[in-house]
C-alpha cells in the first residue's frame, strides 16, 4: 500500500519537475521584453479608451509615446496639459502647452422644432438617415438630430437639445473629437475655447448658393462675404459658398457677428448686454448683441 502511494507521488513529482523545466525554458525563449515605462504612462492616462488620439485605446497611446520617447504629434485631449506634463516627466522630454479646445456644433437650432419639413421614423442613426435624404429640416447640410454624436461621447458632454440639435457642455467636453468623427455631415468641429471661454464661429456649413441656402434655413450662411470684409484680422475666408473663421487669427471682436445678415455667426461666452430702455446710437457693443441669438449650446443666457 505505502509502496503504491510512494510510486504515484514519485511519478507525479517527476512529471511536475519535468514540466516546470519545460515551462521555464519556453518562458525564457519567448520572453516579451516590455518597457516598464509603458505601464507607468498607461497608469497616468485617463483610461476612457475614447480613441480621440487616433490610437486604439489608452494602452496603445502609451506604447506610441514610449516608442518615440516624446509627445510630438501625440496628444491626449481628455487628459489635457496636466496629463501631458506627467507623461513628459516620465519620458524626460519637454512638451508644448496645447490650447484648450472644445467641440462646436455648427448648425443653427432656430430653424428646427416645429418648422420641420418632413417626419423621419426610420432607424435612429444619423449615418443612415444621411444616406436616405436631406433630413427633417430640409437642409442637406444641417444636423439630422439622431444623436450619433451623443452616442459617441464617452464623457457625457453632449446631449440632444430641445430643437433636436445637440448641445455641448463645454465644462465636460475634453475635445477628444469622437463626436466630430461620428457626425456624417461634419457639422461638429473642434475649436479653441478662447480667452475667458469667449469664441466666435460660423454656425452653418451649408454649401448651397445663397438663395437656395436661405430656402433651407433662415439662419444659413449665404456666403455674402460681409464678415470677411469687416474682419480686421483677415481671419475669415469664404470658400465653397460658406464662410469660415480661422480661430487662430480671430480676436473675438465680434464685428462679423453684427455684420452677418442671416445671424449665422454666433458668439459664445460674452456677457449678456444690459437691457437699455432707449438704445443710444453711440452705443457700440449693445446693438450688436441685441438681436443675435446665442445658441443653446453654451451656458449663456439667451437675450431676447
Amino acid at each position: 500500500m505505502t509502496q503504491q502511494i510512494l510510486i504515484a507521488v514519485l511519478i507525479l513529482g517527476a512529471l511536475g519537475i519535468f514540466f516546470a523545466v519545460v515551462l521555464y525554458i519556453v518562458a525564457q525563449k519567448f520572453k516579451v521584453v516590455e518597457d516598464p515605462l509603458i505601464d507607468e504612462v498607461a497608469e497616468v492616462l485617463p483610461g476612457a479608451n475614447c480613441g480621440g488620439c487616433g490610437k486604439a485605446g489608452c494602452r496603445a497611446f502609451a506604447e506610441a509615446c514610449v516608442a518615440q520617447h516624446s509627445l510630438d504629434g501625440l496628444r491626449c485631449a481628455p487628459g489635457g496639459d496636466a496629463v501631458a506634463a506627467k507623461i513628459a516627466a516620465l519620458l524626460g522630454c519637454v512638451v508644448e502647452q496645447g490650447e484648450p479646445m472644445v467641440a462646436v456644433v455648427r448648425c443653427n437650432p432656430a430653424n428646427c422644432g416645429d418648422k420641420r419639413k418632413s417626419n423621419y421614423d426610420g432607424l435612429r442613426s444619423c449615418a443612415f438617415e444621411n444616406t436616405v435624404y436631406t433630413g427633417e429640416s430640409g437642409c442637406p447640410f444641417g444636423c439630422l438630430g439622431c444623436g450619433d454624436c451623443v452616442a459617441a461621447c464617452q464623457f457625457n458632454a453632449i446631449k440632444m437639445g430641445e430643437n433636436g440639435v445637440p448641445v455641448v457642455d463645454a465644462d465636460k467636453c475634453t475635445a477628444c473629437g469622437a463626436c466630430a468623427k461620428a457626425c456624417p455631415r461634419k457639422i461638429i468641429e473642434l475649436r479653441n475655447k478662447g480667452k475667458k471661454d469667449r469664441r466666435v464661429y460660423v454656425s452653418c456649413v451649408n454649401r448651397e448658393k445663397g438663395a437656395v441656402a436661405m430656402k433651407s434655413c433662415a439662419n444659413a450662411c449665404i456666403a455674402c462675404g460681409k464678415c470677411a470684409k469687416v474682419c480686421p484680422m483677415e481671419a475669415i475666408t469664404v470658400e465653397g459658398n460658406v464662410s469660415y473663421i480661422d480661430y487662430k487669427k480671430c480676436i473675438a471682436c465680434r464685428k462679423c457677428v453684427t455684420e452677418c445678415p442671416t445671424k449665422a455667426i454666433h458668439d459664445v461666452g460674452f456677457p449678456a448686454p444690459a437691457v437699455k430702455p432707449a438704445p443710444k446710437p453711440e452705443a457700440q457693443a449693445a446693438p450688436a448683441a441685441e438681436k443675435v441669438e446665442i445658441p443653446v449650446a453654451e451656458k449663456v443666457e439667451v437675450k431676447s
Partner: protein, 437 residues
C-alpha cells in the same frame, strides 16, 4: 427560400394607360441612372426638340439623357430631387411639341429588326436605355457581356411582386406584341436561344395574353411563377425560372443569366424599332384613399405635384406619405416639386395611419426575419453586429448579399428597423473595404 405575402392592393389593375399632358416647364435631372451624372451638352437659350440629346454619357457607368419636350433651355443648374438633394439638371421652357424627325411616331408595329447584336447594344447606349425595374442600371452595360462569360438565359421580370404597382401589368395587357418584339431584340443582342418571361400567377389575364402573343414569336416562353414577394428580385427570379443559384457576391451573368424588367423590354422596342429615346415613364397613380386610380404615360421631368394635380386634383387630407415605387422597396418622396426620373414606376399615396411605423420593442429571437429572408441571411444578427460596430464580422456573414427587399422588417413582431440597420451596415462594410484599398 423565404419570402412574404404582403397585401397585394392592385387596385389600379383595370385603369387603362392614359397620356399625361406636358407641363409648362420641365426639369430634367442629369443623373437618372445608376452611376455618374451625364454631362449637359446644351446651353442656356438653345432650342431643343423632343428626343434630342441633352446629357451625354462621358464615363463608363453612365447613360444618355434626352429632352422629353420641345422648347428653349432656360438654364443649366441644379435642382432638388425627390429626397431634397441637389442634382445637376437642365431646365426647359416648353414650346409646342416638336419631335425629332428620326423618331417614328406612327402607331404601326414594326417587327423586323435587321441590326447586328453589337449595333443593338450601341443603339441602347445612344437612346439612354436603363433598367426600369428600379435600379436604373444602364442597359448597354448589362448587355455587353464581359469576355470569358456566356449568357445562356434571358429572363424578363414581369412578376411585379411589389404591392400596388400595376404599370407592368397594363403594359402586358395593352402592348403585348411590342414587348415580345423588344424581348426578341434583347434575345438577339445576347445570342441566346430562349427568353423567359416570368409572371406571377395572380395575373391570369396577363399570362393568357402574353402566351397568346408569344406563340407568334420564336423562343419566347411564358413562365407562370408562384405568388410571393420578392419573386421579381433578380436572384430569386433566376432560381425560380432556371433552378440555378447565383453565388454570394456573384452577378447573374456568372450563372449565365441576364435579367431585365418588362418595362425595359418595352422601352427597348421603342428605342430600336421607333428610334425613340427613353423620355417617358409608365407610372401608376394609386392609393386606397384616392378617389380614382390611374396608369399614365408620363414624360420624364414632370413633377410629382403636376402628376397629382392632373390625376386626382389634390392629395387627400389624410395623406401620410407619398411613395415612389411600391410599399416594400419604394422611397418616400419629401419634395413633391421634384421632377420624376427614369425608372419611377408609381406615385403611391398612403394614408396617415398606414404610413406610421409601429414603435420598436426588443428582439425576442423568434427567428422570423431569418426564415423569411430570401437570401438565407440572419437579419437579427446583423442588427446586433452593426449596432456594436462589428463590421468585419458582419462582412464575414455576407451582409453584402442583402438585397434590401424589406421582408425582415415586414415580418418582425418587434418592429425593429432591420432593413435600415442592414443598409447602414452595408455602407459601413463598403467604407471599410474602400479604406483598406
Amino acid at each position: 427560400m423565404g419570402g412574404v405575402h404582403p397585401e397585394e392592393n392592385k387596385i389600379s389593375n383595370d385603369a387603362a394607360i392614359e397620356v399625361m399632358p406636358v407641363g409648362k416647364q420641365m426639369v430634367v435631372l442629369m443623373n437618372q441612372h445608376l452611376g455618374a451624372p451625364a454631362t449637359p451638352v446644351v446651353q442656356k437659350g438653345d432650342k431643343v426638340k423632343v428626343g434630342q440629346l441633352i446629357g451625354e454619357a462621358q464615363t463608363f457607368m453612365c447613360a444618355n439623357v434626352h429632352s422629353p419636350v420641345s422648347g428653349t433651355v432656360l438654364k443649366v443648374d441644379t435642382c432638388k430631387d425627390a429626397f431634397g438633394l441637389a442634382k445637376p439638371a437642365v431646365y426647359i421652357n416648353v414650346e409646342g411639341d416638336e419631335w425629332m424627325e428620326s423618331i417614328d411616331r406612327t402607331p404601326d408595329i414594326k417587327r423586323e429588326c435587321t441590326l447586328e447584336p453589337k449595333e443593338i447594344v450601341a443603339k441602347l447606349k445612344e437612346m439612354g436605355i436603363v433598367g426600369l425595374g428600379g435600379a436604373t442600371f444602364p442597359a448597354h452595360i448589362k448587355y455587353s457581356i464581359p469576355e470569358g462569360k456566356k449568357a445562356e438565359y434571358l429572363i424578363i421580370n414581369a412578376a411585379e411582386c411589389e404591392p400596388y404597382l400595376t404599370s407592368d401589368y397594363r403594359v402586358m395587357m395593352e402592348h403585348a406584341e411590342e414587348v415580345c418584339i423588344g424581348v426578341s431584340i434583347l434575345r438577339k443582342a445576347l445570342g441566346v436561344p430562349n427568353a423567359y418571361i416570368g409572371i406571377e400567377s395572380n395575373k391570369p389575364l396577363a399570362i393568357a395574353k402574353m402566351q397568346e402573343t408569344a406563340r407568334q414569336f420564336e423562343g419566347i416562353i411564358i413562365e407562370p411563377l408562384k405568388v410571393k414577394y420578392p419573386q421579381g428580385a433578380e436572384k430569386q427570379l433566376i432560381n425560380a425560372v432556371t433552378g440555378r443559384r447565383v453565388g454570394s457576391g456573384k452577378l447573374p451573368i456568372d450563372s449565365g443569366c441576364v435579367v431585365s424588367n418588362l418595362g425595359t423590354a418595352f422601352a427597348v422596342y421603342e428605342a430600336i424599332q421607333k428610334n425613340k429615346p427613353l423620355i417617358e415613364n409608365i407610372l401608376t397613380v394609386t392609393g386606397k384613399e384616392l378617389p380614382s386610380q390611374h396608369n399614365y404615360i408620363v414624360r420624364i421631368g414632370t413633377t410629382y405635384n403636376e402628376i397629382i394635380a392632373h390625376s386626382i386634383g389634390q392629395l387627400p387630407e389624410t395623406t401620410g406619405k407619398v411613395i415612389s415605387g411600391g410599399t416594400m422597396m419604394g422611397k418616400a418622396v419629401v419634395n413633391l416639386d421634384a421632377p420624376t426620373v427614369k425608372g419611377n414606376s408609381s406615385v403611391l399615396v398612403i394614408g396617415e395611419k398606414e404610413a406610421r411605423r409601429n414603435p420598436e420593442t426588443n428582439c425576442i429571437r423568434c427567428g422570423k426575419c431569418a426564415s423569411v429572408c430570401p437570401m438565407g441571411l440572419e437579419p437579427y444578427m446583423f442588427s446586433l453586429l452593426v449596432k456594436n460596430n462589428r463590421i468585419e464580422e458582419a462582412k464575414a456573414h455576407n451582409i453584402l448579399d442583402c438585397i434590401e427587399c424589406g421582408c425582415c422588417f415586414f415580418s418582425c413582431p418587434a418592429n425593429k428597423p432591420l432593413t435600415d440597420e442592414i443598409r447602414l451596415g452595408k455602407n459601413k462594410v463598403r467604407a471599410m473595404m474602400a479604406a483598406k484599398k
